[in-house]
Every structure is written in structure tokens, then in C-alpha cells.
Symmetry: C2
Subunit: 279 residues, 2 copies
């Protein structure tokens, strides 16, 4: 079988999925590398559709697992040249293994179905690497879903998919442009809303905060440059700050979310924190 080149129509069509407009028009996106392709193929039936896998001969030798999974799932596997792999990659070191997947969006009601305990809401997140990192943290901490609310980054952006290290395929990701609608849906699902903000009146490490986080919780995180809009923070049930014990002004979005999400996972598993450790 001849290898597809960077000029083969299917490769040309797939390459266009680097652009958001093309992804939205076609309803597909690219997942690159063994971790992402493996996660896409291992996703729950019905949650992710994999249309096609492109692989170079060298990458095929390195990745028997994902290719066997593709064959078992009846997914077309096409051999491609190294130049075609470079065209399908956005990185300087192409992995040689790329899957064309259907968009991951889940309706918000479905993402919040089934009495969620821990949901992460990114409000106006604009950096795809940060969004992917937070999705990875949410997945690692066992969160039930991630909502991208407001004018948010596309979770199918290559940087987001890479930063998530496969996690975009592990838990439901829903998008809702209207932030108030997203917050109302979280409340409807029985979640208490915790806004992460440097000027929050509650300290994350205060035992009273921990006790509140033991119940079903939705964390709201804002844009990496501007934080949460004041009206969104005001609409939450609690405004929580990560305590700063040193001289930094704040943490960045990814690290602040990791601290908040893991503190929640800890107390939701029955731990209690005592005595008062807040400043």
C-alpha cells in the first residue's frame, strides 16, 4: 500500500483541522501522539468517534498498542510519509501518529447528569495550554466534568489536547457561552459554587472551607490574565483564596486550580482538616 503524502486529499483535508473554523465546519479534530490516540480509542463507546488514524512506518513500529486498538475498533489506519506527519503536526517533533476524531462536546445537561460531586468550570479561559492542563488536573482528581463557560478557548485546539495528555477523552467537556446559564445548571445539579479569587473572603486552608468543599462542589476559575469577572465571583456561593504564605502576589491558573481541586478531592474522600491552619 502506497503511503499517503502531504498532498493526498485525505491528508490535506485533515491538515485543515488545525484551524478552529475548519474543525467547527467539519465537526472533527486531530489528536496527535500515542497517549492521545490511545485515549481516544479507549474512550467509552459512544463518547468519542475516531474516524481515521494516520501513522508513519516508524511510528507504527513504536506503537503496536494503539494500532491494534484501531484495527479492533474497525478504524481505518492509513500509512503516511514523514512529510505528511509533519504537515499533520503542530509541533517541531511530529509524533508520526495522528487520529481524526469527532468533536468531544457534550450537552451541558449530560455532562452534569448523575449527581456530580466535583465539577470544574473555566470561565473565559483563553490559553489552550492552560485549559488542557486544568482538564488534566480535573481528570486526575476524579472530577465528573469540565465546563468551558463564556468566551472560551476551543478544547479541540492542538495545544489544549496536548496539554491534557489524553484527559480530554476521559471526562465530559461541555461548552456554554452564557456564564449565568452554566452557573444555573451547576446549581440545578446540586453543586455549591466556589469561586477561586485572590480576594476571596474564605481561605482554602480554613477548616470551614474544607467542610463546605466536602459536599458536591463546582469550582469556578477565571481567565489567566484577568481572573474571574467580579459579577461571576459575586454570583458564586463562596469566594475562596489560595493562601499566600510568602511574597508572591498569586499563583497562576494551572497551579491555583491544582491546589483547589486536590484540596477538594481530599476532603470529598472523607478527610477532615484540623485545627485552623488559616493565617
Amino acid at each position: 500500500m502506497a503511503e499517503c503524502t502531504e498532498r493526498t486529499p485525505r491528508v490535506v483535508a485533515a491538515r485543515k483541522l488545525h484551524r478552529r473554523a475548519a474543525r467547527e465546519r467539519v465537526g472533527r479534530f486531530l489528536a496527535e501522539g500515542a497517549q492521545a490516540v490511545g485515549a481516544a480509542l479507549a474512550a467509552a463507546p459512544g463518547s468519542v468517534r475516531v474516524y481515521e488514524v494516520f501513522v508513519t512506518p516508524a511510528a507504527a513500529d513504536r506503537n503496536p498498542g494503539p494500532l491494534a486498538a484501531a484495527h479492533a475498533a474497525g478504524v481505518t489506519v492509513s500509512m503516511i510519509t514523514e512529510r505528511a506527519a509533519a504537515a499533520l503536526s503542530e509541533t517541531v517533533t511530529p509524533q508520526g501518529l495522528v487520529a481524526v476524531c469527532g468533536l468531544l462536546d457534550v450537552p451541558m445537561a449530560e455532562a452534569l447528569d448523575g449527581d456530580p460531586r466535583l465539577v470544574v468550570v473555566l470561565v473565559g479561559a483563553s490559553d489552550p495550554g492552560n485549559a488542557g492542563t486544568v482538564i488534566r488536573v480535573a481528570d486526575a482528581a476524579g472530577a465528573d466534568a469540565v465546563l468551558l463557560a463564556g468566551d472560551a478557548v476551543d478544547p479541540h485546539n492542538g495545544k489544549c489536547v496536548r496539554a491534557s495528555a489524553g484527559s480530554v477523552f476521559h471526562l465530559p467537556v461541555a461548552r456554554e457561552r452564557d456564564v449565568a446559564t452554566a452557573l444555573a445548571a451547576c446549581r440545578e445539579a446540586g453543586l455549591r459554587l466556589f469561586a477561586a479569587t485572590a480576594i476571596g473572603e474564605r481561605d482554602l486552608h480554613d477548616p470551614a472551607t474544607s467542610a463546605a468543599l466536602a459536599g458536591p462542589a463546582a469550582w469556578l476559575f477565571g481567565n489567566e490574565a484577568h481572573g474571574l469577572p467580579a459579577e461571576v465571583a459575586a454570583a458564586a456561593d463562596e469566594r475562596v483564596r489560595v493562601p499566600i504564605y510568602g511574597r508572591a502576589e498569586s499563583l497562576n491558573l494551572a497551579t491555583a486550580s491544582a491546589v483547589c481541586i486536590y484540596a477538594t478531592a481530599l476532603v470529598q474522600r472523607g478527610a477532615t482538616i484540623s485545627p485552623d491552619a488559616a493565617r
Copy 2:
């Protein structure tokens, strides 16, 4: 006073500091933006030397605080053109405000002086953005020092300085090429060594781990791609994993370090975690 252009010798000399070799030869580096320049000028006397500040007329209007601090400290302030500011910047949106600072390296013995309680050791960190982010987390959590051990990124790299958001000026940063020497110095300083590794035998959320972390602790974090070398993990007193409650394989360096460092800051401030929340 005429503004310096990108061809003015002092600007040409400063611009060379984008390169590590030039920084090491001259013993100076660049800090860009109000936050970094302000932190450099506000650093403890003797800890940071600021040689010169370059500012555009527009940035001078926006940043009266740092400029007043520069004048008060007797630091030369030179007006520069926008093109000179672009030449001194590594970003697509130059801040128009750049300080030429002396290298921050502190001898390891000095960084570990005075009964440290919490020290962060980055072993073989190669991504400057990650290193800067971890330095920011260490600062926020009130750590006493950061050590860069092994073949490590230069903390004066522009990406590291930016990611640290001023924190490189807030706590001692020491470099030691020999990892065993760095670990021995930590032990000598009374610190127990905790290696962060996905295959650690202890769960971070286990109360026994928390109890151990309440004493003086040094956290060892590995390279973002390869983790800690096996022999370094083996040389630590404890090997600790961040629990994964979902389907992610792991966290990335920045978020894992944030979870570990903040869990430590919590228990070092007198909190206890109970009952057993480990899986």
C-alpha cells in the same frame, strides 16, 4: 535627554543578555515588566543588584512606582525608544520596562542557612517556564529556598523570570550541578527528603505522609519529561505519589509540585489530616 535606540551601545550590550553565555560572562540578566522590575528593586538589600533600568516614555507614564523606586535606590534610568524596548524584549508585546540585574545565584550553604522548614529541589529541570512556575509556587507557599540541581535550566532565562512573576527575586535560588551534593546539603540542614514520583510507595494524602511532612522537608521534583532519575528517588527518605482518582496517568510538573508544596505548607502550619483518605 535623547532616547537610547536599539543601536545605542548600552542597549546593544543589554540585548546580548538574552543568551545564556552572555549572562554568564557578564554576570547580569534582564528582568522585564513592572512586576519583575518592581520585585528586583524591592528585593532585600544585598540580595539583588540592579545596574540600570530602561524605560520607554509610554511605560514611564504607566509605571511611576518602579521608576520612583529606581531613583530612590540611585539606579540609572535611561529612556529608550519603542524599537529599543522591542530589542530588549523576548515577547511579542514588549512591556517597555526592563532592568539589568546581577545574577541571583546564592551559594547553596547560604540558601539553606537558618533552619529551613520547606525547600524545593528541581532535579534536571529543562523547561524554563516550568522552573519559573515552580519557583512562584515555592514563593507563594512560603518556602525558604529553591535549589536547581543537576543539569538544570538557567533561572535567569527570560521565560523563567516571566513565569516566576517576580518570585525569582523573593527567595534564594541556588544551583548545584552535582545532585548528590545538593541532597547531602539538604540533609545537613535538617531536612527530610521527599521525592515526588508517580510510583512512590506513599500517597500524598495518607495521614502518615502528612505527619512526616509536618517536619522540615525538602521536595525533590524531576525533569518534566522523564521524572526523577531512579537513583535520586532511591536516595530520598520518602517516595511520594500524588493520588490519581480519575483516569489521567499523572499530573505535569507544575501542577504536581503545587499540590505537594501546598499540602506541605498546610500541615507545617499545624493542620492535621484525618482519617485515612488514601485509596
